[in-house]
Every structure is written in C-alpha cells, then in structure tokens.
C-alpha cells in the first residue's frame, strides 16, 4: 500500500463530499462523520506503525519523478501530528452532538470540519511548498465557514477581521514562495533543502526566511503577529474554538519548524536567534494576557499563545533535547488545549456566562468536572508526571545546553504563571458560594462530560506513558535535525 500516507487526508475528504448529499439529516450526518473519523484514525495508526518500522514514507503523485511531481512525505513528526489532529477532531465531533445545536448541524457543520481536517492533515503531510499553500487555503476556507456559521453579531464582526488577516497572509505566502522559487527554481521541499545548502549563506535567503516567519507567524500566532487571534477565536462556539485552538495555530507552528530545520539552516545566527527572541516575547505577552482576563475563553486562548512560544523556543535552539522537547510539547499541546476547551465549554454551558466573577461553587454539584479540570490544568502547567512535564523539561534542558541560561529560567518561571492562570479558573468557578442558576440538565451534562473526560484520560496517559513515546519522538527529532534523512527518502531510487 504505497498510498497509505494519503489515507488520513483522503478519507475525511471523501466523507465530507458524501455528507454534502444530505445536509438536513442530522442523525445520518453524525453517524457518517464518526465512521469516517474512525476509518481515518485507524489508517493514521497504521501509518504511524509503518513510519516507525520502515522509516520516512514518501509518494510522488501521478507517478511523476521528484522533484517534478508533487511529493507527499510522512515522517514521524507529520505522522504524529496527523494522528493527534484526528484524535482531537474525533472528540470534538463527539462533544458537538450535544453542544453545537441542530441549526448549525443542518448548515454543513460536519462537512466543514472534515474539509478543514483534510487541509490540516494535508499541510502536515505535503512535501511541496506550493502544495502546502494549497492545503492552507483548504483549511482556511473551511475555517471561514466554521467561524461564521450561526451568524451571531460577534461572529460576523470577528470573521471579517479573521478573513482579512488570513487573505493578507496567504498572499504574502504566495509572494514568498515566488521569491524562493526565483532563487532555487524548485518547489519540492527536499529539493529546496539541497539547493539552499549548495547556495550557502546569502542575504536574499535570510530575507526569505524572515518572510516565511512572518507568514507562518500570522497563522501560528507569534508575537507581534497574534493580534487577531484572541478576538477571532473567542467568537465561534466552543467546539469550533477547541478545533481552532488545538489545530490551526499548530499548523503554522509545524510550518515554521519544518522550514526552519529543512530550508534555512545556513544563517542560524540570525534567523534562529530572531525566532528565539520572538518566542520569548510571545510567552511574555501570552502570560500577561492569560493573567489579565476574567473571561475563561480568553484565559485559555492566551495559553495557546504561550504554548506557541514554548514550542518555538525548543525548535530554535536546534539541538537534540530541544527539538525532542518541542515535538513532545507540540503533541501535548494539541491534546491538552482540546481537553481544556471542552471543559470550559461545560462550565460555560452550566453557568451561562464566560465571566469568572459571575461563577462559583460548582464543585458541590459537579465534583467530577472540577477534579478532572484540575488534572488537565496541572497537565497544562507541566506538573510531573502529567503530559506537559516531559516536553518542557527537554526544552529547558535544550536551552541550557545551548547556553541560553536566562531564557530557559524564564520558561520555567512562565510555567508558574500558566499554572496560576489555570488555577484561577478553578478557584473562581469551583470554590466559594454557589452563584446563579444552573442551566443544564443532568443528562446533557453527562453527555458533554464523557468526551471531555476521555480526552483528559488520554492526556494523562500521554504524560505517564511518556517513556514508551520516547522512540517516536526521537525519530521525529532526528529527521528535523538531519535534513538528509528527509531528502534521501524523497529521492530514493531517483538519484
């Protein structure tokens, strides 16, 4: 099965097209979506196994030879990301059954999610820089649908902003790819890597590197390009917010990690230092935002920004521990942000508000919710043995190895602020006197809690079972640190 690496991209696409045929039959939509996701998930686990055993999988579409055809490459990093994004979408769709409301379900909600998943998985899998742009567009188009679906006033207002920002950054993406093409004369990422290594350090390549950082930085939400993120992400309902927060920024982060390890390794002193400084600033701004708000959505949204900074810091130091920590933290963050958004979604559903000052005393009536939220919050901050710990430990170790003393200490200190911001939600919402009415029936509460707790359980397993994941993460980090593995896999049998 040489087409195996395409299955996680193709299956959601196929099922999304099928779903378009009967938009009004809500039950059928739900069942078909779940079946599609299960198939895709199964294929991604097979892919993960195959990449572990046989190494990097590549396929050049249409039987053309690389670098002329569009190459798809599945290394360990992209296989891991594809699997975790499928996992997140599975739980979010499950959660949507009780949360999103029938009106949206009848308005192409599930097809839009599956199309977005196609774009996300495609962007993780592609080995062609222009094709990556195309997959970015696929996921953006579907995210436009999701952000505006429902047509509330705030959604319309924020979606205008979201669309304009993304259209601008997409055009910049094409322009940058054009610059790159004019320098190297190829779009195949493995080929670009070879050609850029031949050129060596040069001014124009550094400029292109910074332009790519701007393009992906807008999508990924690094300082100072994250300005659109808190407002736009807060507008859509919680399941959509969970998808956006867990997946979309990570696509930008993945693209930065990929281009900064595969392409731009000639002028590390400038480009990676810039990335490091920006990632530290991103963490600073994220921490300020996470502590400043009383709105639960905003607190977690600013935590996305912090995580982006931490991951990119690990990637910017370019050594084994830092890179492995980055990969660990990237997967952790996809899972934990998904879980957190589902939990605060339940809190918002119960209290009917997202303002912390109007909540209180939920622990008496909803102890399960409270304690499992607390576990996820500890996981977010990286308290051992939960999932955030090992990633952050390795990132900080990488920082010390690269002699970035202050920056690494700062990352450690930021964990405390992350913990504080997440615990504030716990203190305000669960402790104290009961306030206001509870707007949710016990049955609905159970239905919402089930996917959230299962996902929380997975994040705990991810932390506790980290030792079993180390070989996978090491493989992913190896490919990132040694581009020749990637290049050789693509050109196997050609040169």
């Amino acid at each position: 099965m040489i087409n195996l690496l395409l299955f996680p991209v193709l299956i959601p696409f196929l099922f999304a097209a099928v779903l378009l045929l009967f938009p009004k039959k809500v039950k059928a939509q739900r069942i078909v979506t779940m079946i599609g996701l299960l198939f895709a998930l199964a294929s991604s686990f097979v892919l993960l196994y195959k990449v572990k055993v046989d190494g990097v999988q590549t396929l050049t579409l249409g039987s053309w030879a690389p670098p002329f055809g569009i190459t798809m490459v599945s290394d360990m990093l992209s296989a891991l990301l594809v699997t975790s994004s499928l996992l997140i979408v599975f739980f979010v769709v499950w959660y949507s059954f009780t949360s999103i409301g029938e009106e949206r379900e009848k308005a192409f909600y599930y097809p839009a999610i599956l199309f977005m998943l196609t774009g996300v998985n495609g962007a993780f899998t592609t080995g062609d820089i222009f094709n990556m742009f195309v997959f970015f567009e696929v996921l953006l188009m579907s995210s436009y649908v999701l952000i505006v679906l429902g047509g509330e006033k705030i959604q319309l207002k924020e979606s205008i902003k979201y669309i304009i920002v993304n259209v601008v950054s997409s055009s910049l993406f094409v322009i940058t790819v054009g610059y790159l093409y004019s320098v190297v004369g190829t779009l195949n990422m493995a080929d670009i890597s070879v050609k850029l290594a031949e050129i060596g350090p040069s001014g124009i390549v550094t400029v292109i590197a910074v332009l790519f950082l701007i393009v992906f930085g807008i999508k990924g939400g690094i300082f100072p390009l994250f300005f659109w993120l808190p407002g736009s992400y807060a507008a859509p309902p919680i399941p959509v917010l969970a998808l956006f927060g867990a997946l979309l920024t990570k696509v930008g982060v993945y693209a930065i990690m990929r281009t900064y390890t595969l392409f731009f390794t000639s002028d590390v002193g400038y480009t990676h230092n810039l990335l490091m400084i920006l990632s530290i600033l991103t963490i600073v701004v994220g921490c300020i935002g996470a502590l400043a708000y009383f709105d639960v959505k905003q607190i977690i949204i600013y935590n996305i920004v912090i995580a982006v900074g931490v991951i990119l810091f690990g990637a910017s130091v370019m050594n084994e521990s830092g890179m492995m920590g980055s990969v660990f933290y990237l997967i952790h963050d996809i899972l934990i942000k998904g879980a957190l958004f589902l939990f605060i979604g339940i809190i918002i559903k119960i209290t009917g508000t997202s303002d912390l000052r109007k909540m209180g005393g939920l622990i008496k009536r909803y102890p399960m919710l409270g304690w499992s939220y607390l576990i996820v919050a500890f996981g977010l901050a990286g308290i051992p043995p939960l999932s955030g710990f090992i990633g952050k430990l390795l990132i900080v170790q990488g920082g010390f190895e690269a002699e970035l003393l202050w920056q690494s200490i700062f990352i450690l200190a930021s964990s405390l602020l992350v913990l504080l911001s997440a615990i504030r939600i716990f203190i305000y919402a669960f402790w104290g006197e009961e306030k206001g009415e509870h707007l949710i029936s016990p049955k609905k509460y159970r239905h919402l809690l089930a996917p959230a707790i299962t996902l929380a359980g997975i994040t705990v397993l991810y932390g506790v079972g980290a030792e079993y994941l180390v070989p996978f993460m090491a493989d992913a980090a190896n490919v990132l640190l040694d581009p020749s593995i990637y290049v050789d896999a693509v050109f196997e049998g050609v040169k």
Binding site: M1, I2, N3, L6, L10, F13, L14, A17, V18, L20, L21, P23, L59, T60, L61, G62, S63, G69
Partner: protein, 140 residues
C-alpha cells in the same frame, strides 16, 4: 420600473444552447489543447447566469430544478473516486492511464482517466459558481 427584456429573453433561448454545447466542446478539447473541466464549467455557469439575467432567479429555478450543492458533491465524489482508482492498482495516487477505444459515430477515440476526473471538476465548478450566485443574488 418594468424593463423591456423581450430581445434578451428571445436571444437567450437560442444562445443558452450554443454556450452549453460550446462548454462541452471546451471540456473535451481540454486534454491536449487549451480548455478542460474548469473552463468548461465556468462557461456552463455563465450560460446559467445569462438565463438568470434574462428571466429571474425563480423562473430559472423552475426551469432547472437542480440542487447545486448536490451537483458539487457528486462532482467531488467523481473526482476523488477516479483518482482513487490508483489505490487499487497500488500505483501513486493520481496516476492516469489511457487507451484507444472504438466508439460508434466517433470512431477511434482515446479515452483517458483524466477525463473522468475532469468531469468531476466540471460539475464542482458549475455547482459552486451557481450556488454562490444564487446566494448573493437571492439576498434581498
């Protein structure tokens, strides 16, 4: 104000079919010469838009009672399934094949799997374009 659109309505009744046939021609011309499913689909949708201009949205919907979302979905399915044929032969996705067939009236014709893929593209383009125009045009 009631506009006098007798001329455009009469002309459209004839021109619509010419444009339609031309779009089919462009579609089949596509493999070796300029054309193909995308352009063909655009030409076809322009024919439907002309109908809408000459008559109005409601009349056109009665004339062609088609759900264009379903057209899009069917187009997507045709394209994916054609391309997925390669999976069963274990060759890279999108690999195309062709052979010569004898077809009555047309004679020796080369049939290409890319043509079936393009049929899907044609339907998607028509479906999406008309859906957009109906959405915007139907908004009072």
């Amino acid at each position: 104000m009631k506009t006098n659109d007798l001329i455009i309505q009469t002309a459209t009744k004839v021109v619509f079919f010419i444009i339609f046939l031309f779009s089919i021609h462009i579609f089949f011309a596509g493999h070796y010469t300029p054309g193909g499913g995308f352009v063909g689909g655009l030409v076809m949708s322009s024919a439907i838009v002309l109908l809408m201009l000459a008559f109005d949205l409601k009349t056109v919907q009665e004339m062609l009672p088609i759900n264009y979302t379903v057209v899009t979905a069917i187009g997507l399915l045709i394209s994916i399934l054609t391309a997925s044929g390669s999976i069963f032969f274990n060759v890279p996705f999108f690999t195309h094949v062709f052979d010569d067939f004898y077809i009555p009236l047309l004679g020796e014709t080369s049939i290409h799997t890319a043509m079936f893929f393009d049929t899907g593209v044609y339907l998607v383009v028509v479906g999406v374009t008309i859906t957009i125009i109906q959405m915007i045009g139907g908004d009072e």
